[in-house]
Amino acid sequence: MKKLGPLDIYRHLPKTNCGECGEKTCMAFASQLIERALTLKDCPYLKGKNMEALVKMTAPAVRQVIFGSQSPVKIGGEDVLYRHELTYFNETAIAIDVNDQMGEEELLTRVKYVTDFNHERIGQELTLQAIAVKNTSQNPDIFAECVKKVAENTDKALIYCSFLPESLQAALQVSNDTPLLYAATKETWEQVGNLALEYNCPVVAFADNNLAELKSVVAALQSMGLTHIAVDPGTHPENLSATLNDFVQIRRTSMREDETLNCPIIGIPGAASDPMEEVMAASMMIDRFADLIIFNNIDMFGVLPVITLRQNIYTDPRRPVAVEAGLRTFGEPTKESPLFATTNFALTYYTVASDIESSALNCYLLVFDTEGLGVEASVAGGQLDAYKAKEAMDTAKVAEVVNHTKIIIPGMAARISGELEHLSGWEVMVGPKDSSGIPEFIEKRWEQN
């Protein structure tokens, strides 16, 4: 989206302030549109020329491409280079690769891995989005058979990966759930482009570390009337400088309202031969604008840092850092239930809360106002000290909530325990350094007490 003000948008709105979009006024709707909190479809009265104008005006700087019908994957659609400028919208999709020379058991294991993958982390479910099927055999029939087998065993979106148009065609003939076609090149753009048209699939343009050629391939595909195009400028696990610089240039070009290279970017860390290096390459790509990555290693030591980084980078920076301070209850606590304390840094709070919830504990949690800092940082910076803790206990009237005088503070705040005991007259128990230790703490320290 270009730099727009609400007024630019307002001009094309009905100006009736009907409120059906959920906003009180059309001007408020315009602001929400810019923030992308609402979409044009939320206004029931937009049509005709105004709708057309707005569609064009509000189109994201990077085109959004969708592949997969059963489980659609959205890539691109970004509006800013750096996340602090607004936010990123579609998180980097992660595809796991398989190839058509794998034994059936390995193939199906990997397909099942992607299909079932679900890692819960701080209240969010982290998943994998797609399976990239590689035509390493270079044989269209073998490829088609492999694609068929994969498609039969998953509802995840697929990427058909071959530089041979005849292989892509053979695979499309056996299965077409709107896969992403990888890839059209300087040599094959017309054949692959025709397949994309015929089967109505999005397509990837590929050129190896040559952005002029990449742009030419995209333009050639566009000249056929195709618009759903992603780009792969080539991943060089032995020379990631080339890959990084290509990614950065493509994304910067998108931000300059370029109508050709404003495409989602694909990176292939799976090309690395070492699983640790693969994680590093994938991380670089997530930090620097990749919209889809194709990953190989399915051991959790490698997948976990990658999905965690993605969760971090794609967190909306407009989301508040702090949660509200005060007393919370979990389950159905009684006057005898334990009283925990933590900080109001959102991540600390949600981590503690999810640990308490998953252990089905009935308890109270006193949230200190640490100005949105975590435990260690706020103790170091003075946002959490014994005086502030005592004040929070008084404000929350904890003495009326429980009939014991014990408070469990985070292990990382052990430093304030002595002074807090002195100030409050309560027994200050030093809890675990990590809230995952809460169940054990309760069993060993609280219940024995």
Partner: protein, 381 residues
């Protein structure tokens, strides 16, 4: 002519030229079939114009360590800063210095996660030996001696004893060093003041001056003894600007200061540190003098993440994979992420993490031979 005929005539028309025509209308709408679509599909060799930015500002160069001729005893000096563009944007500009890695050494035995501990368990009682190991075995660019035992709530080591540790470390290794306090705001100024004195001439960095202690004493000590000072704040760009301004007003020179906006671990707020550093570096390039400083990170904080230090997932039936790989990756990914955002100096701990991060830095800052990218589809099983 009937309109119908006119429309028929227009159907196969690519272009219309109107001559001597006056049009009277309030609104005129012309719907033309797109001429582009009629063009045959074709491949044309297009030019690509590099999307370069011109930045008015740049980051000053800061030097660590003085050699004999300069009044110190370091074998060499190190430099950070000098950026004219974002890190590793080599299409735009070649930034002069690679990131520098300082290994953490503590003046007492501390608890460490297993993947880190295996490397240090023999030397944890002896900071000088610990420092040597970091330099000789793991190739540390710098060493940070953290005087954590000075904290009255830990061991309350007297300042006179703490500075002896500093001297021992300076004797043991010849790389530039960083001196850290315990984080106790009452004691740190005194500790760092005395440490600055004994390290006179060595051009160390004092870690750190912050809002919650008497930063003037720390900064003054750095100025009096020719050291660099680290200006530390907590994930707040305005606080960082304010503190920097105070320090500059005191007379700290821009060549003598780094900033540390706080490092949160991967999975536990890394994005705050990432965006903070990115904003700070972009502001510096755009000319914001308050933020024109090289950036430092306590990357070792990554080990605070449970996914880094825990042996296995706390939930039964779930696996997090080999901790000896997972843990080091946690620190390395944190370092890389902040390195891409603009961080120059990394205080790290695990040699495996450092190695992974270094390999990335080498790749991202040097020319390497390039193999065909299409090969990823050629390989067999």
């Amino acid at each position: 002519m009937e309109i119908r005929e006119l429309i028929q005539l227009l159907e196969d028309t690519g272009e219309i030229e109107l001559e001597n025509v006056d049009i009277f209308a309030e609104e005129l709408e012309l719907f033309m079939s797109a001429a582009e679509a009629a063009k045959p599909a074709e491949y044309r060799e297009l030019e690509y114009e590099r999307p370069l930015e011109e930045y008015p500002g740049e980051v000053p160069v800061v030097k660590f360590g003085n050699t004999k001729g300069e009044g110190g005893t370091r074998s060499h000096s190190l430099y950070v800063g000098g950026e004219k563009t974002m890190p590793f944007y080599r299409f735009e500009h070649e930034n002069p210095y690679k990131p520098v890695i300082a290994f953490d050494v503590f003046d007492m035995k501390i608890g460490l996660a297993k993947p880190v501990k295996v490397h240090y368990k023999e030397v944890m009682e002896d900071p000088a030996e610990w420092a040597k190991l970091c330099v000789n075995k793991f190739g540390a660019d710098m060493v940070t001696i953290h005087l954590i035992s000075t904290d009255p709530l830990i061991k309350d080591t007297p300042v006179s004893e703490a500075v002896k540790t500093v001297e021992e470390v300076l004797q043991a290794v010849k790389v530039p060093i960083i001196i850290g306090g315990s984080g106790n705001p009452d004691k740190d100024p005194e500790v760092l003041e005395k440490a600055a004195e004994v390290a006179e001439g060595e051009r160390v960095m004092l870690n750190s001056a912050s809002m919650n202690l008497d930063y003037k004493r720390v900064a003054q000590a750095a100025m009096d003894h020719g050291h660099v000072v680290l200006s530390w704040t907590q994930l707040d760009i305005n606080d960082q600007k304010t503190l920097n301004r105070h320090l500059f007003d005191m007379g700290v020179q821009k060549e003598d200061m780094l900033i540390d906006p706080t490092t949160a671990a991967l999975g536990y707020g890394l994005e705050y540190s990432f965006s903070m550093m990115e904003r700070m570096r972009l502001a510096a390039l755009k000319g914001d003098k308050d933020l024109q400083c090289p950036i430092a990170s306590g990357t070792t904080n990554a080990w605070g993440a449970r996914e880094a230090w825990m042996k296995e997932a706390p939930t039964e039936g779930e696996t997090w994979g080999d901790r000896m790989k997972r843990g080091p990756l946690w620190e390395a990914v944190s370092a890389l992420t902040l390195g891409l955002a603009g961080c120059n100096l990394f205080m790290m701990m695990c040699p495996t993490s450092v190695q992974l991060f270094r390999e990335m830095v080498t790749q991202l800052s040097e020319d390497q031979e390039t193999k065909p990218a299409a090969a990823w589809l050629a390989g067999g099983v």
